[in-house]
Symmetry: C2
DNA sequence: AGTTTATGTCAGTATTGTTGACATTCCAAG
DNA sequence: CTTGGAATGTCAACAATACTGACATAAACT
């Protein structure tokens, strides 16, 4: 970017051609597959050795409970964007298996505050270590400037509501 | 970025902290949700008005058949990364409804070459218009440099096999 | 006391993935 | 030419995850 050349209007908008956009769409598709493949594998192993039936839904629940310990079911519902029935099935399994603990709220005793047990944290570690490793490799290959651009585009691609939830989480809810 | 300050080793690797990586993981999650939300809505509408039951799997099939007309089932299988049985269910519905045409191969009559019918192309247009519009908005907000970084990181995040398939597609299969 | 809110549960259905079994077609070795 | 294997595609059954709708319980609010 040093000696930045003269950029005319056409060049500066080349990245908005339909072909470029299609490539972006497909890159997103393939990258997301890579992004989820490691946790999927780890969960398959875990299921075999522990006789469980966990999938991506369980991973997501564990991830966000770990991020925001003590979060309520309702809060998790909003973040994950699924119905309570769907989340409940997942949480019930995790609680029964002792990976998640559900504590009745002290202020509002209708609420259930969710925490990972040591076992839950152990699984979360395995999952997020793998996912971070892939992200770290990608980040390292790409370099800091590319990473900044990556984050900028991703945030612009979120639905506004979710962008709000996202930045809240980043600030440490 | 003007008056670029002295950057020591620690600063230059700040983007690789666990916290930064976690944020990247979550950004990916929320962005992908946004990325798929428009097609999901369009397919829901289509299903209601046409009495169909299409989902993301049908969208992906239509997308890649449109990209590579005449592709075989096996080829599509590799791109999509699902079992042939799973893809077959999807293709059967699309063929029965007249959105996709399956032609027996002339060289190898075991192969089926897939093409979109005019109706299939019409639906593909609606879907990809919406997805491109979101991508275009995000790209426009972020600017060309961020887009370049976005693409770089996404490609680094793919599985190597998929990166191969991806770049092949970009070169025009 | 009555309403709203937060949560949990049950039943039913749809999408999308899996495996297993099988049919068809091609090709190559005997 | 035939036979056996490999490639390709189809059918059937099952599992995970989502959805909607209905309802129960308990706690908070008014």
């Amino acid at each position: 970017m040093e000696h930045a050349p003269y950029i005319n209007r056409a060049d500066s908008l080349l990245y908005l051609t339909d072909e470029q956009l299609r490539q972006g769409i497909e890159a997103m598709f393939f990258a997301y597959r890579g992004f989820t493949s490691d946790p999927d594998r780890i969960l398959s192993d875990f299921n075999e050795t522990h006789g469980a039936n966990y999938g991506r839904a369980h991973h997501r629940a564990i991830h966000f409970i770990n991020c925001a310990p003590g979060t309520t079911v309702n809060n998790l519902l909003n973040i994950l964007g699924v119905t309570k029935q769907s989340l409940n099935r997942v949480l019930r399994a995790l609680i029964e298996d002792g990976l998640v603990e559900s504590r009745v709220g002290r202020m509002d005793r209708r609420e259930r505050h969710l925490h990972l047990t040591p076992e839950g944290r152990a699984l979360e570690q395995r999952l997020s270590d793998a996912q971070r490793a892939r992200m770290r490799d990608a980040y390292r290959q790409a370099g800091p400037q590319a990473v900044a651009g990556f984050r900028t585009v991703l945030e612009a691609m979120m639905d506004p509501n979710m962008r709000h939830a996202f930045t809240q989480i980043q600030d440490g809810s």
